[in-house]
Symmetry: C2
Subunit: 337 residues, 2 copies
DNA sequence: AAGTCCTGTCGAAGCGCTTCGACAGCCTAT
DNA sequence: ATAGGCTGTCGAAGCGCTTCGACAGGACTT
């Protein structure tokens, strides 16, 4: 293992000079810089991360806390995680992967040990038990998701309220009157992860303005659960012609069931999904959807965090504007209804 | 930030004693130990990761390199990553998330800087450019996946050869004669990620033994690509009654298309998927499948790595035995054929 | 000519921990 | 009683880096 001192000796300068070449914190003459850089190359020097962290009290690591559950919106999580990792690298940071398993202790451990300089939390609940800790510590953090109380916090999320509204508008504009929302699994609502509620609220209030009737039903993914949910919906509101689906795992089952019941999409029934574009384009019907901009969220989270680490940037709630893409799953409401 | 020295002072012992209490590397009297532990509690002490890494040349971090592409087998990747993270924690390690983006440079950077003590690589290609580096360094590593040459490497993977054979056997036993394999996207084969080939080889050789005719077609996921692929298959082999699907994104499209063509599953056509159980049970037909044991793979990889770090454990290729679960998508071949 | 300011470099201190060798005190074997 | 071996503790060195203050020498002022 090559050390700074060896590089210094090889280049005929002092250790501190090498350090300054590396960090650029003091001006160095061109000649010296080149000599040092050549030595670094030749010796294959890599600064030792531990020593660096110790001396500078900066680890250049961002901790990313992902939910432990692998049962929902997995592709979204993965995409965010990867966007976080790649964006972090472009700013010179590495990413430490924490699972929700440890809960608040993970926050304590990471901030206490100086393992990471900052954190990004995903899957934030409305009244998340990690939030008090975050507010108390002076370590910068960014949430992906929106808790009930955002004071003193920085959050990045899709504007789910507007998302719901957008869905309502689109269906209303097409002449639908009775619509059903297939929501996330009941567990999601119980955990009070806010996004599902926000979508629903946004949708409901716009629906009211536009004279739409809304029926909301949570749904575990999967064919069987969807079958039960769907038959209940049609029992209660036989005239339902529009669906908004927020649970990725319910999308295909819903399409399959509709087909099986002889209801054509989009001729008889329109379906909007709230999901990543990839899911929307790979479904058995190309789905009109509001995209969940996973990459964008990861990227923005990191950029905010880096800004904070650099002393720029303040607490802030960033809500990304939703975009609805019309594909083949929505159309005018059937004239009969 | 509380330091070791402060704890020592608070407990009335020397710094080294506190260190030994923490590490257990020397025997400490019960009284002293308790006193120190209480001080640690009261002061809320957390050892500084950087200092520790510097002094001990151990970071207690495992690097996990995940593929950058988010276009395929995402749930599997995510599940592995999470299993790696949680298993690592139980052994006292944290996980650093690297994306494939940096390529071999990431390996150099991490081993060179002592950022991590060991690495786990996912999505290994048959002739991966990172392998020479891994062989050269003395840092332990484990691959999830199987390269062409495994000498000097430790690998964990599903036994895809046996997986293919298992699929062939199951279909043959049910009386099918003509089967089609819907493979991964062409890009996967071009990259020479071995698992797809291995599945196919295993399947083909067992099929030959059992008198099955096999048609293999790679397929991008998605409805449209699947439609093209499927019609080609039936053009070429109208008597095809069995399908083996290895691409998660092709599963639902295939089911939808078969349904649309009036071919009932499993009465007219049988389908086996190679996918995580979750996908198999949430599909629109409960799929007979060979599970991809993502959690198990992540866990085993970490355990091997920890064994190596502890000086136990040698290079080794671990192939997990596949298990086929019969669900509702396979049945006897129609008697007419 | 002396004073002032840069620029580029160096030396040394210190970040918080681990670990080695030393050793005091006690117990046991002789 | 003495030597030898344990057990439990301490002090000090050092891990590889950053960073502060010092300062030599040249370029400007006045």
């Amino acid at each position: 293992m090559v050390t700074l001192a060896e590089v210094a000796q090889h280049a005929g300068v002092s250790a501190s000079t090498v350090s300054y070449v590396l960090s650029g914190k003091r001006s160095i003459s061109v000649g010296t810089r080149q000599r040092v850089e050549r030595s670094i190359q030749e010796l294959g020097y890599h600064p030792n991360a531990g020593a660096r962290a110790l001396a500078s009290s900066k680890s250049n690591i961002i901790a990313l806390m992902v939910p432990l559950r692998t049962d929902m919106y997995v592709p979204v999580m993965m995409e965010i995680a990867i966007a976080v990792a790649t964006t972090a690298r472009t700013h010179g940071y590495d990413v430490l992967l924490l699972t929700g398993e440890e809960g608040p202790d993970a926050v304590r451990r990471v901030t206490g040990s100086g393992l990471a300089d900052a954190m990004i939390l995903m899957d934030v609940e409305l009244d998340d038990e990690r939030l008090p800790l975050l507010r108390r510590t002076d370590q910068p953090s960014v949430l992906i998701g929106l808790p009930a109380d955002t004071t003193g916090l920085t959050c990045v999320d899709l504007d789910f309220g507007a998302t719901g509204a957008l869905c309502a508008e689109h269906l209303a504009a097409l002449g639908h009157r009775d619509i059903a929302v297939i929501g996330e699994a009941p567990a999601v609502y119980e955990r009070h992860t806010g996004f599902a509620e926000r979508t629903l609220d946004g949708l409901r209030s716009r629906a009211r303005e536009m004279g739409l009737r809304v029926l909301h039903r949570p749904c575990e993914g999967g064919y069987d659960a969807m079958a039960v949910t769907l038959s209940r919906i049609f029992d209660e509101r036989p005239g339902t012609t529009g669906f908004v689906v927020q649970n990725e795992n319910a999308v295909e089952p819903l399409l399959a069931l509709l087909r099986q019941q002889g209801r054509a999409v989009p001729e008889d029934v329109s379906v909007i999904a709230v999901c990543p574009d990839q899911v929307a384009t790979q479904a058995s019907v190309r789905l009109t959807s509001v995209a969940i901009p996973a990459q964008e969220m990861g990227r923005r989270a990191v950029e905010h965090l880096v800004a904070k680490l650099d002393g720029r940037g303040e607490d802030d709630v960033v809500l990304l504007a939703p975009e609805l893409t019309v594909r083949a799953s929505t159309g005018p409401a059937p004239s009969g209804s």
